[in-house]
Amino acid sequence: MKLLALMKKEFRRFFGDPKLLITMILPGLLIYLIYTVMGSAIFGGDEQAKYSFKVYVSGESQAVQLIDAAVQKSGHEAEYVYLPAEGVDEETARREVKAGEATALLVFSEGFDGAIADTDASDAMPSALLCYHSEDAASSAFASLAGAVLDAYGRSFVFTMQNSAEAADIAQTMVAGILPMLIVVFVFSACMSVTLESVAGEKERGTLSTILVTSARRTDIALGKVLPLSCVSLMGAASSFLGVVLSLPTLMGISVDAAVAGVSALGYVLLFLLIVSVVPLIVGAIAAVSTLSRTVKEASGYTSVLMILMMVLSIVTAFVSGIGDWVVAVPVLNAVVAMQGILTGAMQVWMCLVAVAVNLVYTALLVLLIARLLSSERVMFGK
C-alpha cells in the first residue's frame, strides 16, 4: 500500500508537470530533426541525383521500354546492353554489377512476354530476375524504379530481385555496431535526467528525509523510486530511440530495411526486452549514486563518468570480435552484445534471455543497496 502511494506520487510529479514531460520527449524529436538535416546535407545529392545507368539485359521483354520510360521520367538516363555482348556473358555482367561497373542485370526467361500473355500456357512459369547492388546508390535507384515497373507488369511470372551485396554488409555492420551503443546512450541520458532530479534533487532539498521519518520501509522507498522512474525513463528512451531509428536511413544513406532485414519478429521482441531490462538497471545505478551524493551537481558528476564508461565499453564490444560468453554476466554490456547479435543476424536466444534475467537480478540488488544507503546514517545524516 505504501509502495503504491510512493509510486503514484512519483508518476504524479512527472505527468503533472508539462515541462518535465517535454524534456523527456524533446531529445528524440531533436535527434530526428538534427540527424535528418545532417543526413540530407551529407547524402542530400541522392534524391536529386541524375544517374546514367548501364544495364545488361538478357532475354527480351517490352518491360524494358516501360522501365526506360520510368527512368527518363525520373530524370535519369540509361544505356541497355543486350547479352550476349562482346566478351560479356551473364556471369561477367553479375560481377560488373557487384563491382559497381554496371548498374544492374535484367534476365528474362525465353519468350517472356508471350508466356505472360498466354495465360493457359502449360509451360514452365515465366520468370524475371533483377540483379543489383544495394551498396551502390545508382544501382539501388535503378532497382527501385525497375522493381516497381516489373511488379506492375503482370501477375503470372516469378520475379526475383537479387542483391549482390554481401549478407553481412558494411551497412549492416555499421547499424549493428552503432545502434546498440546509441540505444544505451539514449536510455542512459533519459534515465539520468529523470533520476538525478528525483533522487539527488530530493535528497539535496531535504524532502527525502521527510519520508524517512515515516514508518515506510526503506525497500518500499527505494522501489517507489526505481519502478516509476524506470517507466518514465523508458518513455524518454523510446522517444530518443525512435528518433535514431527514423533518422538512420538519411544519416547513413541506407535503408533501415536493408540494414535490419535479417531481424525476425522474435528478434524485435528480444530487442525490446533487452532495452526494458537495461532501463531499471541504469535507473537503479544512478539512484544509488544519487543517494550517496550530497547534491545534484555531485551526483551528475559521478553519473557522467558512469555514462562515458558505458559508452566506451559498448563501442569496444562492437569492434572487438570473439568476446566470450562470460559477457552475459556483465550488466548492460550483456544487452549491448546481445543486441549486436540480433542485428547482425547472429541472434542467440539464450544469451538475450539470460542477459535480461541477469540485468533484473542486478536491479534487485541495486534496490536493496539503495534501501541500505537510505538507512545509513552516514549517508543520510552525515555532515
Binding site: R12, R13, G16, E202, T207, T210, I211, F381
Partner: protein
C-alpha cells in the same frame, strides 16, 4: 490533574519518552577534523544521556550549539541509532522496534522539507498513507486539522506558492498526520522570522492543549520560559540539570540558571 484526550484519562506523570544512558560517537573525516579544530578522529556527541518526558507536557532540551541536542533527537526518532544505551517512546525501544516508534512520533526540524510541486491536501494524504492511516480517518483528520490551523483555504495551492508562515503550518500539520502521541521538534524557531516563529510557538501550545506530549530542543531561553513544563540542560553531550522549570530555576530566570550550571561545569570561561 486530569486531562481529557483521545487516549482517555491518564495521570500527568505517565512517562512517554525515556532515554537510558544514550551514547553516540561520530568518526570525523579529515575535513570535519579541520572544521572542528581537532586532530582527534572521534567526537563524542552524546555521552550517557538519561531523562524522561511525561504525557501532556512540553519537555525542552536546552543547550549551546554542538551540545548534542540534534543527535539526541535523531536517536529518539530512529533516524540514527545509539552506540549504546536505549530509548523508549510510548514503551517501544528505538533499537528493537523502530517502526513502532516512527508511528508513535511526529518529527519536525527545519531540515525536513516538503516538495513544492504538490498541494498541502495531496501531501497530507501521501504522508497519511506513508504512516498507514486509514482513508476515512485521514479525511476526517484533514478536515479538522486544516480548519483548526487555517489551512483549508490553501489546501489546493501548490506548496511552493505558499507564504513562509503558511508553509510552516502545513509542515507542522503534516508531521502530525498520523496523530502521534509524541511530537519531537528540533530547534522549532531556528532561522524563522518573528511572524513565522510565532506560528510555530502557537502551534506547539495548541498541540499541548490537544493533549500531545512534546519534546523540543533549543538554545533560546525565552522559548523555554514560554513553553516548557520541564527542561534538561545539556552540555557536551551530558545532562547537567533536569527537572520541572520551577525546580530548575529555583527563583532565578532560566538564563541565569543556565549560565550558573554552565560555569560550574566549564569553569569561568563564558
Amino acid at each position: 490533574m486530569q486531562t481529557e484526550t483521545p487516549f482517555g484519562d491518564f495521570t500527568q506523570s505517565e512517562e512517554v519518552v525515556r532515554a537510558e544512558d544514550l551514547r553516540k560517537t561520530f568518526t570525523l573525516s579529515r575535513k570535519q577534523q579541520r572544521l572542528e579544530h581537532t586532530s582527534f578522529p572521534r567526537k563524542v556527541a552524546v555521552d550517557g544521556l538519561s531523562f524522561s518526558a511525561y504525557r501532556g507536557e512540553i519537555y525542552g532540551l536546552l543547550g549551546p550549539n554542538g551540545a548534542g541536542k540534534t543527535t539526541t533527537l535523531r536517536m529518539l526518532s530512529t533516524l540514527i541509532s545509539p552506540d549504546s544505551g536505549d530509548a523508549f517512546v510510548c514503551g517501544h525501544s528505538v533499537r528493537r522496534a523502530p517502526h513502532k516508534v516512527r508511528d508513535a512520533i511526529g518529527f519536525m526540524t527545519s531540515e525536513l522539507k516538503l516538495e513544492g510541486f504538490f498541494t498541502p491536501s495531496y501531501l497530507f494524504d501521501f504522508f497519511g498513507a506513508m504512516h498507514g492511516v486509514e482513508k476515512g480517518v485521514l479525511a476526517a483528520r484533514k478536515e479538522e486539522l486544516f480548519a483548526r490551523f487555517g489551512i483549508d483555504r490553501f489546501a489546493e495551492v501548490k506548496v511552493k506558492d505558499l507564504s513562509t508562515g503558511m508553509l510552516q503550518k502545513v509542515s507542522l500539520v503534516i508531521s502530525i498526520v498520523h496523530d502521534p502521541a509524541v511530537v519531537i521538534f528540533d530547534e522549532p524557531t531556528n532561522g524563522l522570522d518573528v511572524l513565522t516563529a510565532k506560528v510555530v510557538t502557537d502551534f506547539l501550545a495548541e498541540l499541548k492543549n490537544m493533549g500531545k506530549s512534546i519534546l523540543l530542543s533549543t538554545h533560546i531561553f525565552s522559548l523555554v520560559e514560554k513553553l516548557c513544563d520541564r527542561v534538561g540542560i545539556i552540555i557536551d553531550g551530558k545532562m547537567a540539570a533536569d527537572g520541572t522549570l520551577a525546580d530548575i530555576c529555583g527563583g532565578m530566570s532560566i538564563e541565569e540558571r543556565f549560565f550558573e550550571v554552565y560555569r560550574s561545569i566549564k569553569g569561568e570561561t563564558v
